[in-house]
């Protein structure tokens, strides 16, 4: 069975949600990884969940990057294994340099929690492989700093390498300023690294796996991971 590890930093608060969604719908083999842990190589996929690691008082993810587990995650990622950072997890991946760019505060300067639409603009990653190119999913966001920024050169490189995975859109997949909830450059909601095995995304797929909660669109992300891991094994 495929093993999922959910990292717990002090202040992580979507750790239980990720754990529950994976256990319920994806794989029975899921464990928490305490941030001081130094042994993570036995996992197949590492999930860095949302929350407010260390309170995020300084800058989101700025302190979490110094946790002992980060070095392990770096090695894990370099070996080609799958790492997904959701919300605060995405912010942490940016801070520790596993993904390019940075997060600014939402342009409204307010926390935003609501359902939005997300377009899958790259279905050729291990995190989107079970979704067709251009598929629109309905998924919640919940963040105060989700305004993704990257300089023009960096943006060009992201595009050249096909690293943009998700963009904010409307129900019909149209991408415009009106469908940008937080001011992100080019409505970017999720990116991967060059190798394609590390994904960061602001929206919360773990919150929309159970249809009882209003949408089960997020399941596609976890099913994609499962599919690509099964193929590679």
């Amino acid at each position: 069975m495929l093993r999922f590890g959910v990292v717990v930093f002090p202040g992580s608060n979507c750790d239980h949600d990720c754990f529950y969604a994976i256990k319920q719908f994806v794989s029975k083999d899921v464990e928490f990884i305490w941030h001081k842990s130094r042994e993570i190589h036995e996992f197949d996929c590492i999930v860095i969940p949302g929350g407010f690691s260390y309170g995020d008082y300084l800058r989101t993810g700025a302190i979490a990057r110094f946790s002992p587990v980060i070095g392990q995650i770096r090695e894990f990622a370099e070996s080609g294994k799958l790492v997904i950072g959701i919300c605060n997890g995405f912010q942490i991946l940016l801070e520790c340099g596993l993904l390019p760019g940075a997060m600014l505060r939402n342009t409204s300067l307010r926390f935003i929690c609501k359902y939005i639409y997300l377009k899958t603009v790259n279905s050729d990653t291990p995190f989107t492989s079970s979704m067709e190119q251009g598929r629109v999913i309905r998924i919640p966001i919940a963040h105060g700093e989700g305004n993704y920024y990257i300089d023009p050169d960096g943006l060009a490189e992201l595009k050249r390498n096909n690293q943009i995975v998700f963009q904010y859109c409307d129900a019909n997949g149209n991408i415009s300023d009106n469908t940008n909830p937080n001011g992100s450059v080019e409505n970017i909601a999720g990116i991967c690294n060059k190798a394609g095995n590390v994904l960061g995304m602001m929206p919360h797929p773990e919150r929309c796996c159970d249809p009882r909660l209003g949408s089960s669109d997020g399941l596609a992300v976890f099913q994609s991971i499962l599919k690509s891991l099964t193929v590679s094994q």
């Binding site: 949600d17 309170g55 159970d210 909660l213």
Partner: protein, 745 residues
């Protein structure tokens, strides 16, 4: 700060009376020293001792087959929900701090109520907020709303507990006196229940969590006086919240409670270390001795008075079994938290405090915690009561356009969509939110531990309570219950937050007494015991007191996902039905206030027996699968309820409309459309179920009216064929959705 000589002036400055001081001297058999005076002053403040309210609070029903821990015995009550599970919930005020420092005032309110719940052994899974402000046209009110919402957002989002519901009213009565009442609910297995008791001589007393500073000294005393122009100077009495610290404390305490090393646990809220030590000792029938020099401190040179009275946040007191100390320290060490062994349990019933080995406090714990004097305050019916009640409203003109009034009401911030607020709160974390804010009459949460669901809501219309405190109190409970019934839940129990003016004023106390009696009677009728809560007096500034506002937090149990019902219409062709009476007066209504600028009149007739029948018929029909939508008729009356049922289901542009024809009436049409008579629920049903629903309601002696059908695009309301309102849903939805945001930007 320096120690001072205890004089009568100093006693009065501490908010104690001369008689209370005499009582203290007789308890001690001597005069108190400066530190002891401080200790008595906070424990015997209104905020901690309920000395002016306790006599009347005894009127509340507090027992029932599901009650595992009843009101007043512990930090919060505990209610059995079956399947080996229990819930603990409570509402509390943080009004005064929020008036002078809205962000931290609201944030620390959230922190405090969360600690009250996890100290019982429950994992907090939901927050709600009941807020009251003046009119948004005042810049200061906008500042307060913005600060309070940011404070709640900051604390709740960071700690990761969803804010799933609540309500906000805007009324001039709250100008300068905002109300910030916060509710938290937690869930536990029966065996995980923890109590705030110190017992077992020699057991260790641990201080865990954040270090103590000088913040919040005399917060409890501040909460026990009226606001005035000098209240700004009280800003240092407001504590500063650290939700990250509380998240660590929450996880560490719940981990700790999974061991059996703990005898008792209590949070340090109002009156901090003082309250937690004497209350745990008193409940456990023991004494307690602590050494203040061992208390983690973040400021230098604090004297015992300051350490004992500090209300620094995110701290707990834990009584640990002798010999298990290392285990406890290891858990707090893992979470990088202080855990200091500051003393032990004794058998002499004394709260004894040492500072560097010198005895600085020695007070009988039980008498300090429980023997504050109980006063029976004088009360007197205010002159306005009979005047308002007998006010002749027949001269009030009918509006020239009912459609314009409908739009005005839908855009009134009290009625309008609160999206601007709840989108700043994480209302989905913990992934239990089945019915989110802005969708229905109450929030609904699934439980991962069983098949059942919980519905919850806070409610209170202060204007009704002003016009008729007894009926208003009953209505607060009835409407809260009706809200969860509309979601498919059976009401279980309530918690209350009683916000009033200065209890020393006889007319204020009359409002208080009558509200309490009304709530108590309604709780008996609905079999929803009071599980705890809070009294907040002195919500008063030089311009006057707030309207009596006894906020009710209610929780109901839904047996199955299939019973979850929302307020929005579902499908064109469904039949729109009113359960309950159709005619209503306009006394006390939002319509009368908004369209005519009047806060007066007799409340529309309220019959609690009818209310019970309406609720029980609605719940039975929901459980039998006969109801597709259910919406409580409240502020704005039948017309606003119809409009909301059309608008609420709309994702993007898919909202439905309705076409209804009201039966001919001899009553005022504005009353039929906008009056706020209670005991009414607007439902929609499949055409094939209409006969069944009609018969069932009539057989149970509930008035029932087939009003019309669900349609597309427009809301048309006529009365015996004459069109009264005909509006495009897109237009009224725009007003409903955007008014609050445009007020705030």
């Amino acid at each position: 700060m320096k120690e001072q000589e205890v004089t009568l002036d100093l006693v009065l400055e501490h908010g104690l009376t001369e008689e209370e001081y005499k009582l203290i001297c007789s308890i001690l058999g001597r005069q108190p020293n400066f530190t002891e005076l401080g200790v008595f002053s906070v424990m015997w403040s209104e905020h901690c001792s309920y000395k002016n309210s306790r006599f009347w609070l005894k009127k509340f029903p507090t027992t029932g087959p599901r009650i595992m821990v009843k009101a007043g015995d512990e930090n919060a009550g505990i209610i059995d929900i079956g399947s080996g599970l229990a819930i603990s919930f409570k509402i509390e005020s943080h009004n005064h701090p929020s008036a002078v420092e809205p962000f931290q005032g609201a944030a620390t309110g959230i922190g405090g109520i969360i600690r009250d719940i996890f100290t019982m052994g429950a994992r907090p899974i939901a927050l709600m907020d009941s807020l009251r402000f003046g009119k948004l046209s005042t810049p200061n009110v906008r500042r307060l709303l913005d600060g309070v919402v940011r404070g709640i957002s900051h604390y709740g989002n960071c700690i990761g507990i969803p804010t799933v519901g609540g309500e906000i009213y805007f009324d001039p009565t709250y100008e300068g006196n905002p109300l910030v009442n916060v509710f938290c609910l937690g869930i536990m297995r029966h065996e995980d229940m923890a109590l705030g008791r110190a017992s077992g001589v020699g057991n260790s007393v641990y201080y865990v969590g954040a270090a103590t500073g000088r913040d919040g000294i005399h917060g409890a005393t501040f909460a026990s006086e009226e606001l005035n122009e000098k209240s700004e100077e009280r800003r240092p009495s407001v504590q500063v919240g650290d939700p990250f610290m509380e998240k660590l404390l929450l996880e560490a305490c719940l981990e700790l409670l999974q061991t059996d090393a703990v005898v008792g646990i209590q949070d340090m809220g109002a009156a901090g270390l003082t309250c937690s030590t004497c209350e745990t000792a008193s409940r456990g029938g023991a004494g307690i001795e602590i050494e203040l020099a061992k208390v983690p401190q973040r400021e230098k040179g604090m004297i015992p008075y300051e350490i004992l009275l500090s209300e620094s946040q995110e701290r707990m007191l834990v009584i640990v079994k002798k010999g298990r100390e290392e285990e406890v320290e290891a858990i707090f060490n893992k979470w990088d938290l202080h855990a200091a062994n500051i003393g032990h349990v004794t058998d002499d019933g004394m709260m004894r405090v040492l500072f560097n080995g010198q005895k600085v406090v020695e007070i009988p714990a039980k008498q300090l915690a429980e023997d504050a004097p109980i006063y029976q305050r004088e009360f007197k019916e205010p002159a306005y009561y009979k005047k308002c009640k007998s006010e002749d409203l027949s001269a009030i003109a009918q509006p020239s356009s009912y459609g314009d009034i409908l739009k005005k009401l839908l855009g009134d911030p009290t009625i309008a969509d609160k999206r601007w607020v709840y989108e700043q709160y994480d209302h989905m974390v913990i992934t239990n939110t089945v019915v989110a804010p802005g969708v229905s009459d109450a929030a609904v949460l699934r439980l991962k531990e069983c098949e059942k669901l919980l519905a919850m809501k806070t409610d209170c219309n202060g204007r009704y309570c002003y016009l008729d405190p007894y009926i208003g109190g009953m209505i607060a409970v009835a409407e809260a219950a009706r809200n969860v019934v509309c979601c498919g839940a059976k009401p279980l129990a309530i918690t209350d937050c009683l916000n009033f003016g200065n209890p020393m004023k006889e007319e204020i106390f009359w409002q208080f007494k009558n509200c309490v009696e009304g709530i108590a009677e309604a709780c008996r009728q609905f079999e929803t015991p009071v599980t705890g809560g809070n009294v907040s007096f002195y919500n008063e500034n030089p311009r006057g007191a707030v309207d009596p506002t006894p906020v009710i937090g209610i929780v109901g149990l839904i047996d199955s996902q299939d019973h979850v019902t929302t307020a929005s219409f579902k499908k064109p062709g469904d039949v729109v039905i009113l359960l309950g009476p159709i005619e209503s007066g306009i006394g006390g209504s939002e319509y009368l206030a908004i369209a005519h600028g009047k806060k007066t009149g007799a409340l529309p007739e309220f019959d609690i027996e009818l209310e019970k029948r309406v609720q029980s018929v609605c719940l039975k029909l929901i459980r039998d699968g006969k109801i597709k939508s259910a919406h409580d008729i409240s502020e704005g009356g039948l017309a606003v309820a119809l409009a909301e049922s059309c608008i609420l289901g709309g994702v993007d542009s898919t909202a439905l409309g309705a076409s209804v024809d009201l039966p001919a009436t001899s009553q005022r049409l504005d009353g039929v459309l906008f009056g706020e008579r209670q005991s009414r629920i607007l439902i929609s049903v499949d055409p094939s179920d209409v006969m069944y629903v009609d018969d069932f309601a009539k057989n149970n002696n509930v008035p029932v009216y087939k009003l019309g059908t669900v349609e597309n695009e427009r809301l048309q309301i006529s009365c015996s064929g004459k069109i009264l309102i005909d509006e495009r849903i897109a237009d009224i939805a725009k007003v409903f959705r955007s008014e609050l945001e445009s007020c705030m930007s």
